[in-house]
Symmetry: C2
Subunit: 494 residues, 2 copies
């Protein structure tokens, strides 16, 4: 159900309903949760081209991109449903008792149980995959939690359509009233009320640093603090190692021109920082990147607010001391179009100026010219936490620069070699997270089924008779799930 | 190394050293970390009876209790070492690439890596198991993190002795300088400096609500907020169900008299709240419990501060409206001895008075007399988060009161049937945690090897050549660990 500009009293009603729904939904078997998620996927598909049309009007994202994102969203729902139903992510642990030990060893059995109603803030740049039925929502449903989505105001109509799909699926699967709500609000106070309501038990967010940090602070100021997983973006440094750049500066530049400008640079994994060592290779890289960037046409950004920020932040970055503009798209941008831009600065300038460490959300990237590899190492160690980091490197580059490689490992959630950070594969081994300020908790991910664990907690049962235990923990292992029994992973019954 | 009353500058030195040590220690193989932990266990054992003597002088805990706790501490170190070395807790995930897919699917491989230097606050009530080489420290070392212990001021000598054992083990195992530091301080500012130093990456704490909450707030106020796992105690409600109490009120009372008064009630799992339904059975329970409590001798508490708090908090609880003192130990307490005490109040009085929900740390318990099972359900739903909750119940009691059982599940980390909450078994299926205010994050535990995950984060490697990957993620699986390969748990090589 969609609530448009609700009052604080209505927020209370929404959360009261969600709380009631929680106590029904959390008891449903894994299979029912999975069935519900699959039904949502089916209903989204059933919305057909109308959904794409509305989303295109609201976000300016082109049809192929939106089709791809819809496929991804459906895949997230279906694959998280499968994995959750398989039970491995419940982290079931069993230690059988020893009644004859002195003192007797109790029988203990542990599994993850859901936290409660989850508030999810939709992201502007992914109207499907990180919004109303996106990854956070899929994770929360898989964990056993009702969801309240705070719709992103830049694509309310899209959100409302997806919300109808979720509600249809909920009805078809006999889900409890209150399992889902879609809240449209432009009020700061209502957003705060959502996070601070006593029945809200966790928050998922994808967006800006300032937005995420505000939610995090609100959550910590509650009488009962709750976890917030806020993915707040990153500049995704790319390290251009000497041998690699010597061998293929132009190819790397072309690859990166594509990554920087893809979807008008509106990805949290956009490579905003390219770090190399002064020399012929780097110069070729910069020249080629400049040529490529000049050729890329500006694209219309998601909404006027993002466009405005892009223009301001880019201007601010370019106005910094010792920053040189390398190239700007040669095509005159139309209304709300972001012009691809590349700038450059010395390693020292970058080290001395924290402004240059800030994300410029859009098709912008800064090339940092270090005077040598020691300075590159210094740059790595001074960098803040990142979602991703990339080495463009030969095997020699890696083995000769172990210190740089190890320092990079320590600041990122995903470490790429010879590729681009854009493109976040949905699979179990994806980590879409990273040390602060990339996220508020580096121990979790928002992409991949492990994201479910943000919304669940372990519960131990001590000395319960087999027939009173949840199926997941019964001796016979009726669900056939993986469990750690007396320290050994097994599917065997006890 | 032990630092006594260090300055803020020395704290900086300590953390700088720990940070350097981190970059060596995190690269060591799992086996080296395990070897170091086992060496600590050996060195603690080698301290012999001297350690017990010093601990007894400082804590007043009797020799058998201290021997048991030492055994437990050694077991923690050895068993977490074994489990960590086994690799299952790295949550290794591999998704092999599909270069021919359009777009190509990258090869992604994920595992947990350590966070960085961890600050551990020792607990007063467990001078070994939750202190200098206790569970938090074992988890941090197992995760790959250096540790700085803030020694509890009530047992500094004990802490210093254990610290020497750790340093000896570190030397024997060639651990990097800075892998461990023991800080003795009585300064609030120094405690804050430890938590707020830029190189501190997480905090472990066991103690009071006020202590834990202060650390949590300091950590959140940092420029880079860090996770704090604070276990802040609980009143561990016990639900005395009608059929069970009708059948065996006296036996249950005797069992609980033991649990309430064990170690002078100085356990975070001490049952501070017993909830039954008015009637003959509950009266028998109260009478028997009273008789038993009168017979138990007061014991000397850990330190004068804890004794003082016990006396004040108990007096405050007993002074509340409608609270009746049921029984107090008949033996006159000596200096710093806590007298076992049981009081009683009606369900309504409990529901209306938040003071009665507060922990009285020591041998004190409140019996709540509900007028019926509906009121008991209301009491459950009004209770704050708890480390444990217990049902004393027949099978009929459970099946007839599904609503109460389900409501209890929702507020606790460990759910016991027909036992006592005291006694926290060290094993993988233990959950020593629970919803706030029992802890600051219900998604983690401080007992059991899963506690390692508090101090680690996932890192994904994308498209790395086999020889450049960590052993844990190499195709051949040279360490023979469990990994989730293309969604399937296996030890097979790829």
């Amino acid at each position: 159900m969609t609530y448009t500009e609700p009052t604080v009293e209505q927020i209370d009603e929404i959360l009261q309903k969600a709380w009631k729904a929680f106590h029904v939904y959390r008891k449903l078997p894994l299979g029912s949760r999975a069935e519900f998620m699959r039904a949502i996927a089916t209903e989204i598909e059933a919305l057909g081209d109308e959904l794409l049309k509305v989303a295109n009007e609201e976000t300016n994202l082109p049809d192929p991109r939106l089709r791809g994102e819809r496929t991804r969203t459906i895949f997230q729902l279906n694959s998280y449903a499968d994995i959750a139903e398989g039970g491995q992510l419940l982290d079931a642990r069993i230690d059988t008792g020893m009644p004859d030990r002195n003192p007797p060893k109790p029988d203990l059995r542990k599994m993850l149980v859901p936290l409660g109603p989850i508030v999810v803030y939709g992201a502007s740049n992914f109207p499907f995959a990180f919004s109303t039925a996106g990854g956070d929502v899929a994770c929360a449903f898989a964990a056993g939690c009702p969801v309240i989505v705070k719709a992103h105001s830049a694509h309310r109509k899209t959100g409302k359509l997806v919300a109808t799909a979720i509600m249809r699926a909920a009805m078809k699967c006999n889900m409890p009233d209150g399992i889902f709500a879609n809240v449209e609000t432009s009020s700061h106070d209502i957003g705060k009320a959502l996070v601070q309501h006593t029945h809200t038990k966790a928050v998922g967010f994808t967006g800006s640093f300032f937005g995420g940090k505000a939610l995090y602070d609100w959550a910590n100021q509650r009488k009962e603090p709750i976890p917030v997983f806020a993915e707040m973006g990153s500049i995704n440094p790319v390290f251009l190692m000497p041998e690699k750049i010597k061998e293929s500066a132009a190819d790397v530049a072309k690859l990166y021109a594509g990554s920087i400008t893809q979807s008008v640079g509106q990805f949290c994994t956009n490579p905003g920082l390219l770090i190399g060592v002064e020399g012929e290779g780097l110069q070729t890289f910069i020249d080629t990147l400049g040529e490529e960037i000049r050729k890329v046409n500006p694209g219309t950004m998601l909404h006027p607010g993002i466009f405005k920020s892009y223009v301001e932040n880019r201007a601010n970055a370019l106005a910094q001391e010792e920053v040189v503009t390398v190239a700007v798209s040669e095509t005159e941008p139309q209304l709300n179009q972001g012009a691809p831009t590349v700038a450059s600065a010395s390693g020292q300038a970058f080290l001395n100026n924290p402004v240059l460490h800030r994300e410029v959300f859009g098709p912008y990237s800064l090339v940092v010219r270090c005077k040598n590899l020691n300075e590159m190492l210094e740059v790595v160690t001074k960098l803040e936490g990142q979602l991703t980091a990339t080495m463009m490197a030969t095997v020699n580059d890696v083995t000769r620069n172990e210190d740089i490689k190890e320092a990079i490992k320590n600041i990122c959630g995903r470490f790429i070699i010879n590729g681009v950070p854009t493109g976040v594969e949905v699979c179990m081994s994806m980590q879409h997270g990273g040390p602060y300020p990339a996220t508020t908790d580096s121990r979790f991910t928002s992409v991949g089924a492990d994201g479910i664990k943000r919304f669940a907690r372990p519960l131990s049962f001590q000395n319960w008779a087999d027939e009173l235990l949840p199926d997941e923990l019964k001796n016979g292992n009726p669900l056939g799930i993986w469990r750690t029994v007396n320290n050994e992973l097994t599917k065997r019954p006890i």
